[in-house]
Amino acid sequence: MSKIISLKDVNKTYTGVVPLHVLKGINLEIEKGELVSIMGASGSGKSTLLNILGILDNYDSGEYELDGQIIKNLSENKAAELRNRMIGFVFQSFNLINYKNAVENVALPLFYQGISRKKRNALAMEQLDRMGLADRAHHLPGELSGGQKQRVAIARALITNPSIILADEPTGALDSKTSKDVMQIMRNLNEEGMTIVIVTHDPGVGEQTNRIIRISDGVITA
């Protein structure tokens, strides 16, 4: 097993009138093929850690290595490219673009890779089919149920064949039945070899992962 995520003494302070030291020396390693959850109360630094893992935000000191690539002081362009190719995001509120239908939403990351419309829509159809949503391909997000929307979002996360799936409260907006379905999809993907990191405060979600990383007051406690 090789390490896919490695954080060494990562610190992050938000500057302001009162500087806020949010991450206080995070050390974290995640192996390829793991299904882990990061749990913590609000204000624990969990979201900041997610931002850094997802290359959405910078950190001040320490080192973050993702799939052999050191992520530090990247230009906006480089960061966008790495996010596009290495990370599949799944969000709590799905974050589908509401005037694009399911196929177009799933295909969007490939648009930014400059892949032709025909090819990316074909790849998007494959992913939707994998999620069992082939018959909903031309529906707008508004015409889909919450569970269906989250499955479209997962299809979008998978389309670039990323190194990890980063999910932020993926079941937060879903009822318990669909939550279970979504978690089942996550576990299935993990069994197929996908590395998945789920950020959550829901113990029920945490239990279904293979390892729980707890963060509290900016440090990892377990």
Partner: protein
């Protein structure tokens, strides 16, 4: 690029009302610009067809009356142009003067009659070069030629309106005879002119009718190598000086001979028309500016509304330049699309005005031509890009973290 356009078309369709309201402002601005430009073009056309149809490289000289005493002569002495002035002007102004040609008119109004009807007027005895100078377009027969001059023929070129009065039709006029001053003249040609009604006969014939006196009514001095107002004015004063020396009057005395400088006047008129054109562009662009501010405003709102969407796009891999391009191209397309609607409406109105004002003298064929359409296109694209630039930079400030914020 095609994909980008598709993206933009989608987001425009998504906000139909907003798109069309903004679009109206732009369309209105460009509509006003086109209508104004069309009108100015019409005024320009009207100038061109009257004044400007004559060649502009000429000085016209008439005799006058002195206003200043000079070398023992009292003021108030009348100066008549004489046959000898032609050679004097040609000989002493070789730099700026190409040729000098005289016109001799009948001293009184004459009746020119056929069995059908008569007109009254005075004839102008001219050389063949007067056809170019006066910008005469023949529609039947020919103008006075050198052979008419050499043989002192009693021939006449008249305008279309007079031909229609004197004869049944323009076509039948050529070769017919008219009576004038007790003599019989042959009509050799009919010309078309909106406002000129001169009756042209050969210069030598006119001189013969005046018992071969040496008086000339008008000299037309054609210029060469003249390309600025200053040069035009210099030739004018040189010609005046020549006449002053040979005829003995003060070279500063502007009323001793009257000189109409068609060349400098032409330049001044064109400058005036250019100014009119510039003024209309300025007015039009300021009108359009309100439309552009509208587009900019709407793009700001659009960026603000789409903060979350832009965050999502950034999170899944949109580079800053992708976002920049999307906003600016959207702004350009919005401006151009509605701009062209405005242009189209403006052209329709111009055509309508053209029909409504048909036959009026001050305006003629108000319409915009291709070059204006090209200029306006450039203005539109620039305007759209400018309108999009600030909103686009605002969009660039949106961080991908926005995607994580729940709505």
């Amino acid at each position: 690029m095609f994909d980008l356009l598709r993206e933009i078309a989608q987001s425009m369709k998504h906000n139909k009302l907003r798109t069309s309201l903004t679009g109206f402002a732009v369309a209105w601005g460009i509509f006003m610009l086109i209508v104004l430009l069309g009108m100015s073009k019409g005024i320009l056309n009207s100038f061109n067809s009257s004044m400007m149809s004559q060649s502009s490289n000429y000085l016209l000289v008439w005799g006058g009356r002195t206003e200043k005493a000079y070398k023992g002569y009292k003021e108030g002495r009348s100066i008549d142009l004489k046959q000898g002035d032609i050679d004097a002007i040609d000989a002493s102004n070789t730099d700026g003067v190409a040729a000098t040609t005289p016109v001799k008119r009948s001293s009184a109004q004459l009746a020119i009659s056929t069995s059908k009807d008569y007109i009254s007027g005075s004839y102008s005895g001219v050389y063949p070069d007067m056809q170019t100078i006066d910008g005469i377009k023949m529609i039947a027969g020919r103008f006075i030629n050198q052979s008419d001059i050499n043989n002192r023929r009693k021939v006449m070129s008249i305008n279309k309106n007079n031909a229609e009065v004197l004869f049944d039709s323009v076509a039948s006029a050529v070769g017919q005879y008219v009576k004038c001053n007790g003599l019989t003249f042959t009509i050799i040609g009919v010309y078309d002119s909106e406002w000129r009604s001169d009756i042209y006969i050969p210069y030598t014939t006119a001189r013969m009718l005046a018992s071969d006196d040496n008086n000339i009514d008008q000299l037309t001095v054609s210029l060469k190598n003249i390309n600025s107002i200053e040069a035009g004015e210099r030739v004018e004063s040189d010609v005046r000086l020549t006449l002053a020396q040979s005829r003995g009057f003060d070279p500063e005395d502007k009323s001793a001979v009257w000189i109409w400088n068609r060349f400098t006047q032409h330049l001044q008129t064109s400058e005036g028309l250019n100014f009119l054109n510039i003024a209309i562009w300025v007015i039009g662009i300021f009108t359009m500016l309100s439309g552009i501010v509208g587009v900019s405003n709407i793009m700001f709102v659009s960026v603000k509304e789409r903060t979350h969407e832009i965050g999502i796009r950034r999170a899944i891999g949109a580079k800053p330049r992708n976002i920049l391009a999307q906003i600016i191209v959207e702004s350009v397309l919005l401006t151009a699309l509605f701009g062209y609607i405005g242009i189209f409406m403006g052209i329709l109105v111009d055509e309508g005005l053209g029909m409504a004002f048909a036959g009026q003298e001050w305006i003629k064929d108000p319409a915009v031509d291709l070059s204006i359409a090209v200029q306006v296109t450039i203005v539109l694209i620039t305007a759209g890009a400018l309108a999009g630039i600030f909103p686009a930079f605002k969009a660039l400030k949106i961080k991908p973290v926005e995607a994580l914020r729940t709505e």
